[in-house]
Symmetry: C2
Subunit: 262 residues, 2 copies
């Protein structure tokens, strides 16, 4: 099984991309809806939660772990790899960084994400190591997650808030924008419109799914341990009627949520 976890349900955008690429392998998803969101919490607390979530997936039989949460990918990966030696981890930061590096022509890259992701400084470090000429401009966009979870996808207030977050990045002349939160692809149309035609978007869900699919394709031994069953199994730490609507929005199909017993 391919284990995937996120702070909540936003990571289902990654499951959707995985299903399009490798529908033949069973996916086990965990959304930590009882403690969501992570993006306003400290790196220390986020790391503690990430270890617990990984434990849950491994106990249920996952053979590889996909961290479908930008906040966890920005702050907790070294600790996760240390804690779970030998387990292959995939995260959303590295493939997004690589894609932006390939896309940019003028070497001015923008990034929006949660406060904890932006403050982690991980993208700054990666771009600096790769190419000293790249300028990265970041802006935390913390209101987008609640707007998306409320389903306010076409409201004028959402358009106006997206515009407000992008103005300082546009003023810098970016030609590439990293959507550094698994929720944001849901607002891709508005973000693309407000960013302008000259700005190319990097969607982390597509990038990590591509990476996982390539890894599995080239790893015959692993393939044997991934059960061939397309129906994803979705677990949450808390369940309300509203969560099923949100899950459907991200996955673009009806879905049954299983609640963890404490």
């Amino acid at each position: 099984m391919i284990g995937v976890f996120d702070s909540g349900l936003g990571g289902l955008t990654v499951v959707k991309e995985l299903l399009e690429r490798i529908p033949q392998f069973k996916i086990l998803y965990f959304g930590d809806t009882a403690r969501t969101p992570y993006g306003t919490k400290s790196a220390e607390t986020v790391t503690r939660y990430a270890i617990e979530n990984t434990n849950f997936l491994l106990e249920k039989g996952a053979k590889i772990i996909v961290v479908a949460c930008h906040t966890v990918s920005s702050t907790a990966i070294p600790e996760l790899k240390k804690h779970f030696k030998g387990i292959p981890f995939f995260e959303v930061v590295t493939p997004s960084f690589k894609k932006a590096l390939r896309l940019t022509k003028n070497k001015k890259i923008g990034l929006i994400g949660t406060r904890t992701t932006v403050e982690s400084g991980i993208y700054q470090r990666l771009f600096m190591e790769a190419d000293l000429q790249i300028k990265l401009y970041t802006n935390p966009a913390p209101l987008l997650v609640p707007l998306i979870e409320e389903g306010w996808l076409k409201k004028p207030e959402t358009r106006s808030i997206v515009k407000k977050y992008l103005i300082p990045l546009k003023l810098r002349g970016i030609d590439t924008l990293i959507l550094a939160c698994t929720h944001y692809p849901i607002l891709k149309n508005i973000i693309a419109e407000k960013a302008g035609k000259r700005v190319k978007l990097v969607d982390p869900s597509e990038e990590v799914a591509e990476e996982v699919a390539n890894y599995i394709a080239s790893n015959t031994d692993l393939k044997k341990h991934l059960e061939p069953d397309g129906e994803p199994e979705i677990w949450v730490s808390d369940l309300t009627p509203n969560f099923e609507n949100i899950a459907q929005m991200f996955l673009r199909r009806k879905v049954k949520l299983n609640k963890l017993l404490w």
Copy 2:
């Protein structure tokens, strides 16, 4: 000590009102910032968290417990009283209900709150038992908490979203509006403006503080057990630099946050 807890830092509006009325008694506050917000989570999960928070305050020496969270007050009080027999509990729903009952003239009352508070139906039950002629109109207003925590107190988007939440209530001709979330008093000016001059607001923080002050005044025995020390002691389950700004906004003064060790 007077123990006060909330899902996060919004309950500091209650601490502020307590300090104005009974500054002579020590207040111990716990904000569950590692699991905030509660208002989008299920009643079952909220109850579990409320029991853990109460345990923490009692172990630290609290003699009475003030539930400064509307979501907990709406869903978990019977369970808390059963679990902690003999401990005096104060919550924000009953005094807000009583105040609205006194204020309304046309018996049309409006309420905004989190989704879990609104869906609990507790206000509907209380008003129905008190006066069958009262009509209660409710609207969940889940985006107000993130807007407040981002400090977007005067932005046009905030004004527009407040207006959107109040329109269906205004159309019903309400003359009283319950702010059923401890965050909302921070937006009292905008809410009052958008609700219109004829609508009186009920602020739960003022109402519960009044009730606690009266209870302590009439309870000589309890007074002996409340240490006379005006400086509140504030604990949180997670700490980021941003939380100190938020705390200051609610308490209207500089404040030191102590982080719980796990």
